[in-house]
């Protein structure tokens, strides 16, 4: 029997679902600072929405608090601006309770890795099918510039005027260690690549985590310049592409090999190594994912960007549904009166 909820949400969509990106732009001013990296996330997200092939009303964006927390206001779909750190927990309940929806989370390095750290790691482990985009600007911006769990040691911020003492999280490694099935990283300066990552995340049935290095031009301007600026990017980053060797450099003349367990940069021009010696990326190899994740803060190698890992594992919401289906199939649909009456009742006449 259909519930009332099922009834109202299963009404057929009227009209087309052949959307344009602009269909996802609501009629409000975007209130991020001019030049904020957030814009570089918003636009590819809006661009991939039509590709989901589902009606707008089936999409929900959940956020916590932070500059990233404003994201839902800028998407003309359903939106929930939650409380600090709890977006993944809210989104999980929504997805488990409403598996028909496409559920997205917009969060920040503080929101997700500081106060929200517990929900994040449990989200990774549990593999509910939600797509989490983390705006990593390595600072708390909305509260005007304190260091965050991804700020580097020594970073001078308003709450670390003498330099931060904490070692930063490596978000990819943390996600992998917590058991995430889909872990990726992009940069605000490369919107096309972000679009690709978001498409892949949307296609992934399970918990998808995309870390985006996002410049905050007010409180941490240029934090990623050393490897994202046009002139250095190709030398300082390496793109992870499934099945392809790890080549990088402006002239694509450098590559990564594994020496012992250490990734090492080699030249492809000095005759010692050829492309065949290079490490080949495999999104399905969880050990390799750890090795690549561990490259993040290694100054001797380029910063890896792309999809570290994409494993298939049944999503939590599917498992919940499967358990219900299995119970109903084996025991029959529960009858509420039977449940209430139970096995040890008696009748008073």
């Amino acid at each position: 029997m259909k519930t009332l909820l099922e009834e109202i949400i299963s009404k057929p969509h009227i009209g087309t679902i052949e959307y344009e990106p602009k269909d996802f732009k609501p009629d409000v001013d975007v209130r991020w600072c001019a030049g904020c990296g957030g814009y570089s996330i918003l636009s590819p997200v809006q661009r991939i929405m039509p590709e989901l092939g589902i009606p707008k009303e089936k999409i929900a964006f959940i956020s916590g608090i932070g500059c990233s927390g404003r994201f839902p206001y800028y998407m003309d779909v359903y939106g929930f601006h939650g409380i600090h750190g709890r977006a993944i927990a809210i989104a999980s309940g929504l997805k488990i309770g409403r598996p028909d929806l496409s559920v997205w989370v917009a969060t920040g390095d503080g929101d997700n890795m500081s106060i929200g750290g517990n929900h994040f790691i449990h989200g990774c482990r549990r593999n509910t099918d939600i797509n989490v985009i983390m705006f990593n600007n390595e600072v708390y911006s909305l509260t005007k510039g304190q260091y965050s769990p991804t700020s580097h040691k020594g970073q001078i911020t308003k709450s670390s005027p003498l330099g931060a003492l904490d070692e930063p999280f490596n978000p990819a490694a943390l996600a992998l260690g917590a058991g995430a099935t889909f872990v990726a990283r992009g940069i605000d300066k490369d919107r096309n690549h972000l679009q690709y990552l978001f498409e892949r995340a949307a296609a992934h049935n399970g918990f998808s985590f995309i870390e985006v290095y996002t410049n905050c031009n007010i409180f941490n301007d240029g934090a990623f310049d050393s490897f994202t600026k046009k002139d250095v990017r190709e030398d300082m980053t390496v793109m992870l592409e499934h099945g392809k060797p790890l080549i990088f450099g402006k002239d694509r003349d450098k590559g990564i090999i594994i020496d012992g367990f250490k990734p090492k940069v080699v030249s492809l021009t000095d005759g010692k190594y050829t492309i065949d010696d290079l490490l080949v990326h495999d999104e399905k190899d969880s050990t390799l994912a750890f090795i690549l994740g561990n490259m993040t803060y290694n100054p001797d190698v380029p910063r890896p960007l792309g999809i570290f890992q994409s494993l298939e594992r049944s999503s939590y919401n599917d498992s919940v549904q499967a358990q219900i289906d299995h119970e109903v199939a084996t025991k029959g649909e529960g009858n509420i009166t039977e449940l209430l009456v139970g096995k040890e009742s008696w009748v008073v006449k």
Binding site: T3, L4, L5, I8, I9, K11, H13, I14, P26, P55, K56, E57, K58, I59, A60, I62, P72, Y73, D76, Y78, G79, F80, H81, G82, I83, R86, A89, I90, A91, S92, G93, L94, K95, I96, G97, R98, D100, L101, N118, H119, H122, I324, E327, V328, K331, E333, G334, I336, T337, L339, L340, V341, G342, K343, E344, S345, W346, V347, V348, K349
Partner: protein, 615 residues
Amino acid sequence: MEKEIIYLDEITVRFAGDSGDGMQLAGKQFSDTSASSGVDVNTFPDFPSEIRAPEGTLYGVSAFQIKLGSSSVNTHGDEIDLLVAMNASSLKVNVNNLKVGGIIIANIEGFDSRNLKLAKYTSNPLEDGSLKKFNVIALDIEAIIKEELKGSGISPKIVKKSKNFFALGITYWLFNRPMEPTVKWLNAKFKKDADVLEANIRVLNAGWNYALKNEAFKKQYTLQPAKFEKGTYRNISGNHAVALGLVTASKKANIPLFLGTYPITPATDILQYISGYKKYGIRHLQAEDEIAGIASAIGASYGGNLAATTTSGPGLSLKIEAIGLAVMTELPLVIVDVMRAGPSTGLPTKPEQSDLFQAMYGRHGEAPLPVLAAASAADCFAMTIEAARLALKYMTPVILLTDGYIAQGTEPWRIPELSELPDLTPNFATDPEGFAPYIRDPETLARMWAVPGMQGMEHRIGGLEKQNITGAVSHDPENHQKMVEIRQEKIDRIARDIPNLEIMGNADAELLIIGWGSTYGAIKSAVDAKTKEGVKVAYVHLKHLNPFPSNLGDVISKYKTILVPEMNLGQLRTILHSKFLVPIIGMNKVQGIPFKTSEIKAKIDELLSEKEAVI
């Protein structure tokens, strides 16, 4: 042998023994069988906080108390009439609560020197005359059942474990209960374990026969069936009733149920029941912590589920911030707090009523919400339905308070038909024409429930202050004032939608007792007893604590003296003071144990004699 039959109105039986002695099981069988025989029963399991306390120790005693009555039984009994004591420690910790002249059925083997030492007895109470105020029947259960099962080939370990069924058999004889329900239960439970099944059934019968034949047992007891409304009944604990209430509310509302929660004593049972209800289509998340528990429930509520979260004090403290979000977003949510003794970890297995302040006032900002409290185990069902009704109708989180006493204790519950229950149909927004997320019903002030999936109603909600009607983020000063007032008014108006208080006892009295929550049983019993004695005392019991029933002020204004017994330092009293500005006397027991009827009676006497107004 000639046996005398004694007719009783009520009697209290307590099974006590070591944690491993199976007393919970015996007690539950005894109470279920008694209830289905038509008497009223009220039970309370009382077990140690240690998982497996060392055998024979005082803190390892596990007990199960049942009060039976041929008229309404509201507590598990102040004093024990019949004590089953499987070892020395279980006698020691319970004997002070035994009525003079009460019966002790003592298992001699549990009074050997090792057990006596562990119980800190210097001499054997069964022999030293210290129990002469009581009627002691000492027997060596193990020896008897060994004899009974001799040659059966059943292992000594199983034999030893069946002692509780021997004690049960004796009590079945004493009250002339049928054996079939227990035999049936045993058959179902041990269908894969023939030895255990056989041993238990034979030992149960042996207990009966022993009592029948043994001279020490001279009297049998008979209680007339209590008068119950027609219907189908079962014994139910408060936690079980909450679980069933949640499922029932979702069926009645015709929307799916989602429970987001985290285990905590004494609320865990609710989760445990629900986790088995998969074939009813129930979804739940045992979350990583209480915050995720409630946050996931808020997400599910946003999606159109009947969402609930269940917890006890420390967990409620952790959920506070998220409760504020539910208030602000005006989403329906049932929050069940099974109160235990605090502060902090406190006495985690003991009941208390000290979370009322937190439920009323414990949020930052102006964040009013309805607060309900269940009066008894069975009432937990009705109040869960009521919590769901208010949550759905007024689009608000609702806190339902129960406590460890009624959560674990049981009483008979008449199983309702769905059709008897109030209408719970949610007010989903379905028409995009003119839709705005904070348009309100002029009567209830509730907004509509606009869930993702509805075409043309895409909108954003969240924890920031909202502009009335449009739901847009607003920093406008006047709007904020208005919204704060609307949210308050919405809750206040619920008073129109809840029943007036009925005065119990004698309305024409000088003394009014106001109760709430699990104190109902003790107060009701005391008031009934006093009324029978001809003493004038009036009694109202609050199930709605915020807002109060509309006539509470009127009722209060009619009495000279007002007494509020509660298991805290005076939280309801403080709230009543603040609303009605009249002096109220507190009776405040904060001991992790419920009031006794006798304590309330004594207090009534004291107050009426002070006033020189004794009849």
